[in-house]
């Protein structure tokens, strides 16, 4: 086990190093720089700024300097938000995105999983068609359409919710639903198909034949196994949704981290580009690790020995 974790740790470090290096190279390849303005700066001022942020040094020196700070957990100063470090920006904005994202994931799971189970149990009947219909729409409809539609009715037409901004749970409802739409639909479909798969398994029939109550068979043997693909999907989903969506945060003026994934590239804010990329990677790696751990908890084939109550 220790061996496994160690090996995993080194592969993570290697992956992060590759990500940092590739991102560093690519962002310097794209034309333009962080201090290129529509109003050209006088050369002396540009020189001052470049000296201040060490952009006047050769690229390999900048790269080594960055790595040196990175191993100490220092993501450097933002070029655009003067006086702020990338660590500050993530610290300030990630909690907002994470709060919103966690709510969205919760909604997606609470609606998506039951809907998928229902569809599987009533295969080729009206509930199944309805779930499939809505989940197709959910997958096809981009979040900005969901978002603006919600805003039009709930805020503009009916005045039920504030149109945008952040601060109270009222502000969270519309962006959370907009963010939940796609994963909800995807989870419903995933649950349905894997549930159908499980329902046809021999062990389900065996369990029923043994006289176990129908509901118990369904939940303990059926749903638990059917959720494995959903959990696999949750890994990247959690990393993606918790770090925020540029589109949803933009529409609802949510002061989250999502914006920085996109605008940092427009701004050529090199340290922010690298910082948020690294942060996302770490989160993704952590989420996938949790998923791997969750498998061992949920898959009966791994825990056969411990299931005395089944015998």
């Amino acid at each position: 086990m220790l061996n496994y974790l160690l090996r995993r740790f080194f592969s993570v470090i290697l992956a992060l190093w590759i990500v940092v290096t590739v991102t560093f190279v690519f962002m310097h390849i794209i034309p333009g720089g962080p201090f290129q303005r529509e109003k050209a700066l006088p050369p002396a001022i540009k020189a001052n700024i470049e000296a201040r942020y060490k952009l006047d040094q050769p690229l390999h020196a900048q790269y080594l300097d960055y790595l040196g700070h990175l191993v100490r957990g220092d993501l450097g100063p933002s070029f655009k938000y003067r006086g702020r470090s990338v660590n500050d920006i993530i610290k300030e904005r990630f909690p907002v995105s994470a709060q919103l994202g966690a709510t969205a994931i919760l909604i997606a799971l609470l609606v998506g999983v039951p809907a998928g189970i229902l569809a599987a149990l009533k295969q080729n009947k009206i509930p199944d068609y309805a779930v499939m219909f809505f989940s197709t729409i959910g997958i096809a409809m981009p979040s900005f359409v969901v978002g603006t539609t919600l805003m039009y009715f709930l805020a503009y037409k009916w005045g039920l919710l504030p149109a945008a901004m952040w601060g109270s749970y009222k502000h969270m409802i519309m962006p959370a639903i907009a963010l939940a739409g796609l994963p909800m639909a995807f989870i419903a479909r995933l649950t349905r198909s894997s549930m159908l798969d499980v329902l046809n398994q021999d062990y389900m029939k065996t369990a029923v034949a043994k006289g176990l109550p129908q509901m118990r068979v369904l939940w303990v043997h059926g749903v638990k196994n059917a959720l494995i693909p959903v959990i696999t999907y949750l890994g990247p989903l959690v990393a993606g949704v918790l770090t925020g969506s540029f589109i949803v945060e933009n529409i609802f003026a949510v002061p989250g981290l999502g914006k920085h994934f996109v605008t940092s590239i427009y701004n050529r804010d090199y340290t922010v580009i690298l910082g948020v990329t690294i942060f996302y990677c770490v989160l993704l790696i952590l989420a996938n690790l949790l998923v791997d751990l969750a498998y061992t908890l949920i898959d009966p084939r791994i825990k056969l020995g411990g299931r005395k109550e089944l015998v």
Partner: protein, 536 residues
């Protein structure tokens, strides 16, 4: 299905329950509250480092320089009560008000200005707008790392007298002292944390009509600064700036009563708003020009007749009416209206008149003179714009006008992401490029000095010796009666050579609650809420 529907219904019910009444909250228990969308999170609130209009707007509420601009862009006495100017216009003596205080109660002295200006020029601080202070003797040398900080010609004669010596007599210097780079700073606060003091409302000591009390969750909140010298003029009890970037969201917020004023509007919505909200829709003037740059080093655009033919063959009125739709004004010259000329009440644009008379026959004649009768043999070129739906529509309209009116073909349109586009422009890797310019101060020269040969902003790569001479002469002339004719002459030369094609003068379309009065929308961008109030 039932389960799905139930959950949705439950969610909606919860939404309705917790929302109570909608967005249109009248915040009465807090007194007079004005909410304005400033449009984005500020990059910095350090006056020495700021560059953009959102930042200058946020700073304007909480700081004040020696002067403050009024609705007509005229500098009014602010922290300075009066000033004397030497005969040659290069030496200024500002007399500060005796009773002025910082928001923490400390007195504001001339030393605070000396400290702030020298700090803004510190090459290690590396402020973008340090060059705004280059008029002060010794400033440029120090900022370029060549001179000493002690040679900057700004001194505090005593606590209430500030002396400044300029490199040349610039009559607009008094206006510049209203600009953020010229704000005084509270020395002890800044020195305690030179980089971080402007990041939190707890460490910002300010001297304007308002002081910040909250900066979080995408909003900035101000309350009146009781130590402000003119505190009696401030009527708002709470000023809230939201930082919403999406224009449609901003509009919805206004329409649901969540803000009293927008900072802009989505162009396509303006025709609807003209009929639905005529009393709230304002098209404010904005000191800026939207234009195309011709790369004068590339054929066929190196031929002045081709450039003129192109400039004469488009219908600017049709572009502003049918494409941009934001009340923009067709531009037949480069310097926009709204800048005073020599005579009292006159406008530089009116005095200078129009340079471009749209005339297809004349355009065809010029094109033939250039060797392309009826467009035959015209080699074509590419129009470059930064990625945006509006720029694309304008380019398509212009392309069609050129093809139809001149019979030329082979014109293509391409777009590049902002940073790539700026790099292409700087390197001259384009034929025709879209551009925009907003004045830094209210004088025609802010639109003219950029076109000197080899200038950092002169992406047309055009140059003219007489033009360069005029711009350098202007540095030494302070009398408006002498300056303005020279600037007209410079614009004559520019428009005769046509390295750029003006298209329209910018405007600032905005929605303002009919209750909101007393605010000042500045033509160089930004809104001053010092005297604003809500009328019943």
């Amino acid at each position: 299905m039932k389960k799905y529907a139930l959950i949705i219904a439950a969610l909606l019910a919860v939404a309705m329950l917790i929302s109570g009444c909608g967005g249109g909250e009248q915040v009465t228990e807090e007194g007079m509250v004005v909410r304005y969308n400033v449009g984005t999170e500020p990059e910095t609130l350090d006056p020495a480092l700021m560059t953009g209009i959102p930042e200058s707007t946020m700073l304007l509420q909480m700081y004040e320089g020696l002067t403050r601009l009024d609705a007509d862009n005229n500098p009014q006495a602010a922290i300075a009560e009066s000033w004397d100017v030497s005969e040659d216009g290069t030496e200024f003596t500002f007399h500060l008000r005796e009773d002025v205080k910082w928001s923490n109660g400390d007195p504001i002295t001339a030393h605070d200005f000396v400290f702030a200006w020298k700090r803004a020029l510190d090459p290690e601080l590396a402020g973008d707008y340090a060059y705004m202070l280059y008029l002060v003797e010794g400033a440029e040398a120090y900022n370029s790392g060549e001179g000493s900080v002690d040679d900057i010609a700004v001194t505090a004669e005593d606590d209430h007298t500030l002396k400044v010596k300029l490199v040349a007599g610039a009559p607009y210097f008094i206006s510049l002292t209203a600009f953020p780079t010229y704000y005084p700073l509270h020395q002890a606060t800044v020195e305690a944390d030179n980089e971080g003091w402007a990041l939190s409302v707890d460490t910002m000591v300010t001297n304007g009509p308002f002081k910040p009390v909250k900066w979080a969750e995408g909003t900035m909140e101000y309350v009146p600064n009781e130590n402000y010298w003119d505190a009696g003029a401030v009527q708002i009890d709470r000023l809230v700036f939201t930082m919403v970037e999406d224009e449609s969201t901003e509009l919805t917020m206004f329409e649901t009563g969540a803000i009293e004023m927008t900072h802009t509007l989505p162009g396509p919505e303006i025709p609807r708003l003209k009929t639905e909200r005529p009393d709230e829709l304002h098209i404010f003037p904005y000191l800026g020009t939207y234009y195309y740059i011709f790369n004068c080093e590339k054929a066929p655009l190196d031929d002045v007749n081709v450039r003129k033919a192109l400039a004469l063959a488009i219908d600017r009125q049709a572009i502003v009416e049918n494409v941009t739709q934001g009340g923009q004004l067709p531009a037949y010259a480069f310097v926009p209206p709204g800048i005073a000329d020599v005579a009292e009440g006159s406008d530089f644009r009116e005095v200078g008149g129009e340079y471009i008379t749209e005339d297809i026959a004349e355009a065809k004649r010029l094109l033939a003179e250039a060797g392309y009768p009826d467009g035959v043999g015209f080699p074509g070129f590419e129009i470059l714009h930064n990625t945006s739906e509006m720029h694309k529509m304008i380019a398509e309209a212009i392309l069609e006008m050129w093809e139809q009116n001149l019979g030329i073909t082979g014109i293509t349109i391409t777009n590049q992401e902002w940073g790539v586009y700026l790099a292409s422009r700087d390197e001259g890797a384009f034929d025709v490029a879209r551009a925009g310019w907003i004045g830094d101060y209210v004088e025609p020269n802010t639109f003219l000095d950029m076109w000197v040969t080899g200038g950092g902003n002169n992406n047309s790569f055009w140059g003219d010796a007489r033009y360069d001479q005029i711009i350098s002469d202007l540095l030494l002339i302070s009398d408006p009666a002498e300056r303005l004719p020279l600037m007209h002459e410079a614009e004559d030369i520019l428009m005769e050579a046509m390295p750029i094609m003006p298209i329209y003068y910018y405007t600032l379309p905005s929605l303002v609650s009919t209750k909101l009065k007393g605010y000042v929308q500045l033509t160089i961008g930004g809104v001053d809420f010092k005297n604003a109030y809500l009328a019943e």
